[in-house]
């Protein structure tokens, strides 16, 4: 491993980050590793929109039990994301704004409502979501 760490000067820079969750919670690792990225990003105190769309809406559905398939149930960790969002809202010293968003069409196509989710979400239609997407500086998907 090379010991030369490249560092960039990002002091005072604030950007809008979107984390796009499009895949089912199990079957591929994307959901779990996007979640890890979201949590790390909190340390940078940036604005973040955490979006669940397509099969990604299943990531936050209540009552996951993947034990029969030998997978780890990481869904309780979404509560930590919600906590980060609430902390940012309550703490005047934290400037970042976090949004947790579910795309309406994806939710309805799967017969789900906001009552089915383990965290509180904002529901946006695809047109509103695409407008929000256009406002982002950086979009990370999985």
């Amino acid at each position: 491993m090379e010991d030369t760490e490249t560092m960039f000067d990002t002091e005072g820079v604030t950007k809008n980050f979107m984390f796009l969750n499009r895949k089912a919670p199990y079957g591929t690792i994307y959901a779990q590793e996007v979640l890890e990225l979201v949590l790390i990003s909190a340390a940078f105190e940036q604005n973040a929109a955490i979006v669940f769309m397509d099969d990604g809406v299943y990531q936050i559905v209540k009552g996951h039990d993947p034990s029969v398939s030998g997978m780890k149930n990481f869904s309780p960790t979404y509560k930590v994301v919600e906590m980060e969002k609430e902390d940012a809202e309550e703490d005047e010293d934290i400037d970042m704004v976090w949004k947790i968003i579910v795309e309406k069409e994806s939710m309805e196509a799967r017969g789900l409502s906001t009552d089915d989710f383990i965290i509180n979400v904002e529901v946006l239609g695809s047109q509103e979501l695409s407008a929000l997407m256009a406002e982002q500086d950086v979009v990370f998907g999985g």
């Binding site: 491993m1 591929t28 990370f140 998907g141």
Partner: protein, 119 residues
Amino acid sequence: MKLGIMVNEGPFTHQASDTAYQFAKAAIEKGHQVMRVFFYYDGVNNANKLSEPQSDDRNLVKLWGELAKEHGVDLVVCVAASLRRGIKDDILADGFRISGLGQLIEVGLAADRTITFGD
């Protein structure tokens, strides 16, 4: 323009790493700066020096390493994703370094554009 690149898939199964490499090379030839390439998900497999494709095929691990050497591109593989997949210092190819996810957020902040390749 200052660019950040994220590679989300390993070599060969997906074309994402090839496309990212071609993009990075073309961008540099056009005079843009590639500040960092961050490898995440199965993308960390691009840093496995044990990769040995057939001799008449491209060797992405080497190509990335050469790009780093020639143009000073910072190639970073995510430590958490790497440990899961057995990518450790002793099999890390030349030109790559292992570091945290914060490096991805950092390049997102520093670069004018951050481009993702992969699913």
